[in-house]
Symmetry: C2
Subunit: 215 residues, 2 copies
DNA sequence: TTTGCCTAATCAATCGTTTGATTAATTTTG
DNA sequence: CAAAATTAATCAAACGATTGATTAGGCAAA
């Protein structure tokens, strides 16, 4: 049946996503992926052409999901600029906790100097997210609700960088936070709301002009 | 001559550091490293025992350098807490620009779920830096010059995370900043002072209690 | 001659990929 | 509908290439 075929490809992608995240592109062998997925090795090439094709397929599957989320956040004109950014942060923190293995996968491979076809593709995907955030901050700058001398590119680096630091280095941030961040309960009940609160207060202190008289 | 032997080993380590940073541990082959270093392949095993031994040797060489720099920053009692943090940031930004390929190497390998002997070693090294920053922020919290409800672990995540984001993803941050950050001139004349200014203003807005009457 | 440095050649193991054969499913034809 | 033809899916086996590592031997200095 057609449904089974789709589910099998999806299953392979699920496994590949995790194995790539754990071992890196080079460290993850096609034998390991096919083995853990319970399919014949040749199926990877049959479905995805090559190892790189499989890797890119893992990405392609995520793009639409990312894009639609961000569009919904950015195009809501019923709220203030700062309100948009708040919602953006809340949604982001909510997402990264669930999808952290995919995030690790991204950040590891994009830091390579070589393999340009891959990194270019990844960069392209990430820029969608960046552009959406950038639009919101620029809006706040133009309508006067944000300070006029803020450094937008570096604010973006802080938003994504803080997030990456926590999820990409679980051993290290666990030591800093005093808890194992791979503990689901701690993640959900403590870290999630904590990161939300922190990011919003940090950015508000830097961005929002309280003396704004434009509204 | 003994001097030549040491220089040759150092030369191999220099090359290995760069190649590991560019290709990752798995992606970097011993043939590539020995080839670019201009030595016979067997020399790597002769000097360092194995590929992993070579990898660890690259790290060992850096530890002392890191440690001494941080001690000089943290133990100066002639300045205020905020002044210490300012100096810390300035020194950090100055360093990361020079050593960015080593930083990339660190951040890629520590995000792996496997290879525990390596990640544990790296985590240990990074904690030295973290602890030094943490000490300063706690000092500011105790003497009342910083707000009392700040989230120290997440501030640390922001400091290192923002830095990592810029240097680990040169293609992406180049797009965001509008310039190629691998351009030495732009790096030195624009990005360096810019990141310093930004980080200090960002942290000051979040941390420093202007109504502090303790002094 | 012995010791330490170095090279070329080679090792077994693993890599990603391809092959030819076989089965399952679908479509076409009578 | 049933038989035949075609396509899709799956498999074990093997491919050439490359991996990290080792070997045997040369060569210069002590």
């Amino acid at each position: 049946m057609d449904k089974d075929k789709i589910d099998k490809k999806d299953h392979i992608l699920d496994v590949a996503e995790r194995v790539f995240a754990d071992y890196g592109f080079d460290g993850a062998s096609t034998r390991t992926i096919s083995g853990e997925a319970g399919v014949n090795m040749a199926m990877l090439n049959y479905y995805f052409g090559s190892k790189e094709g499989l890797f890119l397929a893992v990405f392609e599957r995520k793009i639409s999901s990312f894009r639609t989320l961000l569009q919904n956040i950015g195009n809501d004109d019923t709220m203030t600029t700062w309100g948009k950014l708040e919602k953006c942060i809340d949604n982001y923190v909510e997402r990264i906790i669930v999808n952290n293995c995919f995030q690790k996968l991204i950040n590891r491979e994009v830091s390579m100097n070589k393999r340009w076809t891959l990194t270019d593709k990844i960069t392209e995907i990430l820029m969608v997210n960046v552009h959406e955030i950038k639009k919101i901050i620029e809006e706040g700058l133009n309508n006067g609700s944000f300070y006029s001398d803020i450094d937008i590119p570096l604010v973006i680096a802080t938003i994504f960088g803080t997030k990456n630091y926590i999820i990409n280095m679980p051993q290290l941030s666990s030591l800093i936070l005093g808890h194992d961040i791979r503990d689901e309960k701690f993640m959900e009940e403590n870290l999630k709301p904590r990161v939300k609160t922190y990011m919003k207060r940090l950015l508000k202190a830097y961005l929002v002009n309280e003396n704004d008289n434009s509204k």
